[in-house]
Symmetry: C2
Subunit: 115 residues, 2 copies
């Protein structure tokens, strides 16, 4: 855990955030600046700053982030119509919090390109 990291505080339950999902490794919660009717972040409890910082031993963890996004899409009733999953990495990728997170976006037609 990084002391000055917002997502470390959130995943540790220190911000009274309402989780739509939680297990021993991951949490999911609504984005506070939603860009679609469904906009949920899937976030590991472990402090990994960016995709660039993934270690070989993180392969299952990052795979689980995708699996949980799939599960939440189904729970949110957007699985059949479709949705988009996005990792932003670094400044030109548009990453705003330096703690790995996956955006689940849906409930409207997603446009192309993806930004």
């Amino acid at each position: 855990m990084s002391d000055d990291c917002l997502f470390c505080k959130i995943t540790a339950g220190k911000m009274d955030t309402e989780f739509v999902y939680e297990d021993s490794d991951l949490v999911a919660f609504k984005d506070i600046n939603p860009m679609a009717p469904v906009h949920i972040l899937i976030v590991p409890k472990k402090h990994i700053p960016t995709i660039n910082d993934l270690k070989k031993t993180d392969t299952v963890l990052v795979g689980e982030m995708i699996q949980i996004a799939k599960r939440i899409a189904k729970e949110q009733n957007i699985a059949d119509e479709g949705y988009r999953l996005v990792f932003n990495c670094g400044k030109m990728g548009g990453q705003e919090v330096d703690h790995l997170h996956l955006h689940l976006l849906g409930g409207r037609q997603m446009k192309w390109p993806a930004g």
Copy 2:
């Protein structure tokens, strides 16, 4: 392998596609309609139509897709400046080929929202 799937043909090497990466499970190649200076698709050889079709046993495979995207970003010299990774799932997610693929987009400032 699905007989009428374009990405099955590509990953099997039947389309003379130039791969920027290949291993026993995955290939990567340039998108034919690039939306950024770097626009590469990471594609499993196994025919999985969408994120919705992932099985529990695919967790490592999908994690590897992210790890390989990270590696290619470094090889393309866009790791430090940043990049975006995108899975489109289904019609409203903007998925155009029904064979799982991850978009690696970089070489320019990615905008928000991601479509």
